[in-house]
Amino acid sequence: MNNKIVIFLASFLLPLIGKAQDATSPQMADTFRSEGKIYVVIAVLAIVFLCIVAYLIYIDIKVKKLENKN
């Protein structure tokens, strides 16, 4: 059971194995990710999403309290 979970989580790391790129391929932001502070953008996305989640949890708990009162 534990092995399955480990394999499942490890499968998320597969994109790390990047592909080699042609010099003539369409324009992509390949160097952007290493030089352009893209990690900051990802962190911002994650913070925005987590704030929404936190709000949803807060509402969820509030509803639970109401349910218990009734």
Partner: protein, 220 residues
Amino acid sequence: MIKWWKILSVILILYTLVWGMLGSVPHLDILNETIRNVYYHVPIWFAMLFQMGYSVVYAIKHLSKDDFNSDIVSEQAAQTGLFFAIPGLLTGCMWAKFTWGTWWTFEDPKLNGVAIAVLIYLAYFILRSSIEDEQKRARIAAVYNIFAFVMMFVFIMILPRLTDSLHPGNGGNPAFGKYDLDLNMRIVFYPAVIGWILFSLWILDVKKRVALINHKRNEQ
């Protein structure tokens, strides 16, 4: 306590936010990096379709068992589904502007279909609010819900496939054919679909419980 599938939805979406940006994608002309929108725009529509499906299942449940709670769930699911159509439409417009060169085109049957489907569901809520009697409202709404779901399915999933469409997978365009084989995209896309469906279920869960409390209060 927060249920396990709610936590799972957050983990999956968070993973797709990070790997959707960092993972490697196929290098395609016109699309360029916007191909990553597949991770965010498409799962939101899947969540919408899932909610509408959930709604029609509970509509049928109401009709067969005459169970009033099913009607409440059915209405709340339709509301949640319609809510997910908003970011779906907005992200679609955004993506269209920078790849097809226009915010909206009436030449694409999928866009027209979505517009009609949204109107059909808006009519569902108008129909609901126009009937005073609770029993009657629940039954008529449930019947209309079945009609609305079938129409939406025809307009979004069937008609665009029969004619020409700019959307992949429609009108002879390869679906995810080109990048479906790309394992790098699949391992982000599928978790994103599951994550957003679970997240929409979480929103539905909260909305449903509030509606049930409200219903109980009104009865007293």
